[in-house]
Amino acid sequence: MTAPAILPAKGAADRLTGVFWRRPGLLLLLLVTPPLLWLGVVYLGSLAALLLQSFYSIDEFSGVVKEEFTLKTYAELFRAQNLDIILRTVVMATAVTLACAVLAFPIAYYAARYAKGPWKAAFYLGVMLPLWSSYLVKVYAWKLILAKEGILGWAAEGTGTGFIIDGILSVPFLEGSSLSTSPFGTFLVFVYIWLPYMILPMQAALERVPNSMLEASADLGATRSQTFRTVILPLALPGVIAGSIFTFSLTLGDYIIPQIVGDSSRFIGLTVYQLQGTAGNTPLAAAFAVVPILIMLVYLSLAKRAGAFDAL
């Protein structure tokens, strides 16, 4: 007896697979609808609500939100103290991103091009391990490390290098009674907390650069530094940009670290938290919350113009 050309369907799963085979779009639809709904309704919806709020204003006398369209709230962003906050946040986010990039590059480069087998596993473990413990625990730990009578101060005193800390603390804008109360301390903690988010995409990007590309560069007469500037960096740039989007936007939005480490100066995240919380000034909070979005849009378009995505 010969086997039939068409095998009988064994059950619902066989029939369902058949349906999906005949209508490939159906499976895709089923797969993407829930996340799209989530993204569309919950995320974009709340974003729209945020935008809407930012065009309201707060009544000067009663402190009640007036639900009328106005640009007054945005104008308030330009008050000196609010510009300070925006500038302070952007400078911090930029510094943190640059420092993360500089620190992450050698680590990511080593992991992508040299680490093999157990070393690679050790690398992933080392980078991911800090992400497994609570963010708050890490920040509080750093507060203790950086405190006047903390580990760092103690070590500096013991080794006679206290003048380095004193030197940092005497730099304008970084003043404080200890690293833990100095903006420099805030910076250090930001860099520590966000570093893995820079290393991982960078490493992924560097891993995708074939070795022959580097050999081709050397073969054509480029020195190591020329190869770095003209081949490795441009090819790793999408990863650097991806990482910097993380570090930059996470710093822009964070409101915990500056509360615990630093000189209490406000950053955007903390301001939003406080304005919508204690002050009940939701419109101004919303307007402040729009600022990081705008900054990120500007940043991404600058990155695009600089050719950051050419290698994608």
């Binding site: 022959s212 050999e215 081709a216 560069s217 073969d219 054509l220 003209t230 081949v231 090819l235």
Partner: protein, 328 residues
Amino acid sequence: MTAAVEFQDVSRHFGPVRAVDGVDLTIAEGSFFAMLGPSGSGKTTCLRLISGFEKPTGGAIRIFGEDVSNTPPHLRNVNTVFQDYALFPHLNVRDNVAYGLMVKGVGRAARHAKAEEMLALVKLDGYGDRKPAQLSGGQRQRVALARALVNEPRVLLLDEPLGALDLKLREAMQDELKALQHKLGLTFVFVTHDQHEALSMADSLAVFNEGKIAQIGSPQDIYDRPATRFVADFVGSSNVLPPDLTRALGGPAQWASLRPEATRLAATGPVSGTVTALRYLGSGTRVVIHTGATEIAALVPAGQPVPAEGATTAIAFEPQALHLMGTN
């Protein structure tokens, strides 16, 4: 003729692996030299020893008489066309080609002019603004070639340059490469595992096996007079005869090779067998005859009678067609 590249007892060992083991080699200036061998035979490592991406663990390498053992790749006046082309995806074709000039500090206008010149040489005029991703495989190959030539190297290294192309394109490129080499008068060293490519393009070639050179010579030498069983096996469709068969055919008790086109079918002879396979090749028919433990192929020219599968036939040949290869 001057030697473009000279290997003197060169070895490259990776731990216990002897990728290249005591190789002596001379590549004449202006020649089209092929390195042929199966994968892992050491041919690519030899190429990388010339370009400087590998350092020898023993011996000396000289390029135009100068010892380059301590010279990094970027200071060697040789350039490479990589197997995967290794074009820079973030640069357009013109900047890819001009890259070698850019890193030397040649001004933008001058290097772009030179790049256009190179693109014209490989028949890609007008493609300068495209990105490598927008090109076909053959076009990328040409860009890689133009880029490697822009620095006017004294030796051009090509690592399986045609491996990724389809058959028709590969044949066209073979002719073009050959023509280009004639035109430029450069020394081309290319690595391939394709014996037809090696034989048809090279002025001389080295056959690699297990880190050593099995034979070095002209294509004719290699094809007609393989030095070892390995060469005979690898380079082509030659019949390899074991010593007892050679003796049965009237020769000394040595390994020998016999080209199919020199093998004829006869009604009677000292060695006969059964026809087990027929393959029509257009210019003739390849007939495989099974004699004891050995298969012998014969090429029957078109127009001559071809035996049927399963028929019995004897083998004949001109005595000088039998090439002896020693006892092991």
